[in-house]
């Protein structure tokens, strides 16, 4: 056993090196760097950075664009996570293991996830075309007026959300299929014998038993929503009138359009704080509500 004590420390570190070097270079160092940059004023080009202390944060807290971005982010997160979970679960519940076309349906519903977001966003922007796009054709077909979709500040976010939900609902459904399959059938039978109807079974037996999956999906979908970029970039670029400018997009535009690095860094910190808070909150909520069997 001595072979493993001697130089074991060094060997272990060597094993971790291929992962830790890129992680340090592209994750931990940038993390520290963005904190540092948030106290600076810099435009990327000039060699000097000006130390401005907490000014970037102070300006952020009085900036209406920041609050709009917070609002849009909250709407985007709730507006994508909740439907995706509900639709995913509903679809999974509809499946019955004895269905023959089941595998085919499953394939179709999962396929949006595999494809590049940019490509499907382009297809959807064609669907949203106000004059002849499919969306308005359907609306006019049932007697409603067309919507200007991505050009309308009231509807642009809805348009982006539809694409986002469409892309991920199948993914959530697959996770729920697995979870539902793992529910021991005797539990459901016992509930039936007790006289529980379909709805009761769902609420008292099924939902609690799949709560770990729900928990997992909610977190993952939330983090994905906070970081959504591709579809916003193709569909609306944060507009019109900032109605689709999430915190992430505000950060992107500050950094790479306007070259206000200090301001962008403070927005990035806000984003990081938001995600960390989310992780912590979900950890504590998870402890109280998730049932592990």
């Amino acid at each position: 056993m001595n072979r493993f004590r001697l130089g074991g420390e060094l060997k272990a570190l060597l094993f971790t090196l291929p992962a830790m070097v890129p992680l340090t270079l592209f994750w931990f160092v940038p993390l520290g760097y963005v904190v540092y940059l948030s106290f600076m004023e810099w435009d990327f080009m000039s060699p000097d950075k000006l130390f401005v202390g907490l000014d970037n944060y102070r300006n952020l807290l009085v900036d209406p664009a920041f609050y709009q971005a917070l609002r849009v982010t909250a709407l985007f997160c709730l507006g994508s996570v909740i439907p995706v979970i509900v639709i995913g679960l509903s679809l999974a519940l509809l499946f019955n293991s004895r269905m023959r076309a089941g595998a085919f349906y499953r394939l179709l519903m999962f396929s949006p996830w595999v494809t590049p977001t940019v490509a499907v966003s382009i297809v959807w922007s064609w669907i949203y075309e106000p004059e002849v796009g499919l969306a308005n054709s359907v609306l006019r077909g049932i007697g409603l007026d067309g919507i200007r979709w991505l050009q309308d500040p009231q509807w642009a976010l809805v348009g982006v959300l539809i694409v986002t939900i469409w892309k991920s609902a199948g993914w959530c459904m697959i996770f729920y299929l697995v979870a539902l399959r793992n529910i021991p059938s005797d539990l459901l039978e016992a509930a039936e014998l007790d006289g529980a109807g379909g709805w009761r079974k769902l609420v008292s037996v099924t939902l609690p038993l799949i709560s770990p999956t729900t928990f997992f999906l909610v977190i993952v979908q939330f983090i994905q929503a906070m970081q959504a970029y591709d579809q916003i970039n193709v569909l609306t670029q944060g507009g019109p009138a900032g109605s689709t400018r999430t915190l992430l997009y505000l950060y992107y535009q500050s950094a790479f359009d306007a070259f206000r690095i200090g301001e962008a860094s403070s927005v990035a910190i806000a984003l990081i704080v938001g995600c960390v808070l989310l992780s912590l909150v979900s950890f504590f909520v998870g402890r109280r509500t998730v049932h592990y069997s």
Binding site: L25, P112, V114
Partner: protein, 280 residues
């Protein structure tokens, strides 16, 4: 009772079919739009099937922009990244599960931190760092910056934790080195996790848009998503040549759907694994 059950089954089938059609319809719409002429595509109400299928649109779109180059870039970059991720998450996971060292707790915590922090927030400083390393606008920069994934480390670590201790102990008793144990005992047993990692990472990196777009300016280095978007803006004139744009989108999407068809069992297994991992 029987009739009610059959009715319920029919209703389920109907709802599922409707949902499946709704999910797949944008792809159908893309494919048929790609075959229309510019005049027909602007018709209102739109036709469900092109009057005359213009297959030449695909050839025209293919020649309008260097799509072969974009695909090569995506395959090359994604493939290399996958190999690197397999190697370093395998080694890292092994260290975290089968080796004893003082920094183990600290490293595990660090990886956890990496999980909580949104990757996009560090794109800005990451860009600056790549610049300082002179890796902007290079294949090396694209590959190295994505060569490690916290998710991969977690996935493989989960898989390694399930390997029976007796097998590993037997290896140690035989005097096998760590590398030997990893390569001949653990890796073959966790092959399916690595397959899942490879598929998911490949799809993600192939489609990647945000980060590669930030760190490369050279159109020769563009991956598929960025290439398609450039085409959308320039060749497709931001929506004036929709059939061509739809054709280009179609052959951007097609290889992935094909890969999905071929690898669907592995992907579905990945969900099983991830779902298992999600149970804590």
């Amino acid at each position: 009772m029987r009739a009610a059950n059959r009715l319920a089954a029919m209703l389920r089938n109907l709802l599922l079919a409707a949902a499946a059609i709704a999910m797949a319809f944008p792809f159908y719409w893309m494919a048929t739009s790609a075959l229309k002429t510019n005049d027909e595509i602007w018709q209102f109400p739109p036709t469900l099937w092109p009057q005359e299928a213009l297959w030449s649109n695909f050839a025209d779109a293919w020649q309008a922009a260097p799509f072969a180059r974009y695909m090569f870039n995506s395959v090359f970059v994604a493939g290399t990244i996958v190999v690197l991720q397999i190697l370093n998450s395998g080694m890292m996971a092994y260290a975290l599960t089968h080796m004893r060292f003082r920094l183990k707790g600290a490293f595990t915590a660090l990886v956890l931190v990496g999980y909580m922090v949104p990757a996009t927030a560090v794109y800005l400083p990451g860009y600056v760092i790549l610049g300082k390393l002179n890796l902007l606008n290079t294949y090396a920069g694209l590959i190295v910056s994505n060569s490690v994934s916290v998710f991969s480390i977690f996935l493989i670590r989960q898989a390694f934790l399930q390997v029976s201790h007796e097998l590993v102990e037997a290896g140690k008793v035989d005097g096998a080195s760590h590398l030997r144990i990893l390569w001949t005992i653990i890796a073959p047993l966790t092959r399916s996790s690595f397959a899942v990692l490879a598929l998911i990472a490949f799809i993600e990196q192939y489609n990647n848009y945000f980060w590669p777009m930030l760190i490369t300016k050279d159109p020769d280095l563009q991956l598929v998503s960025a290439g398609l978007r450039s085409f959308f803006v320039e060749g497709g004139a931001y929506g004036l040549k929709w059939p061509l744009i739809m054709a280009a989108s179609a052959f951007t999407i097609a290889p992935l759907l094909a890969l999905f068809l071929v690898g669907q069992r592995t992907i579905m297994r990945s969900v099983d694994l991830a779902a298992g991992a999600s149970k804590g």
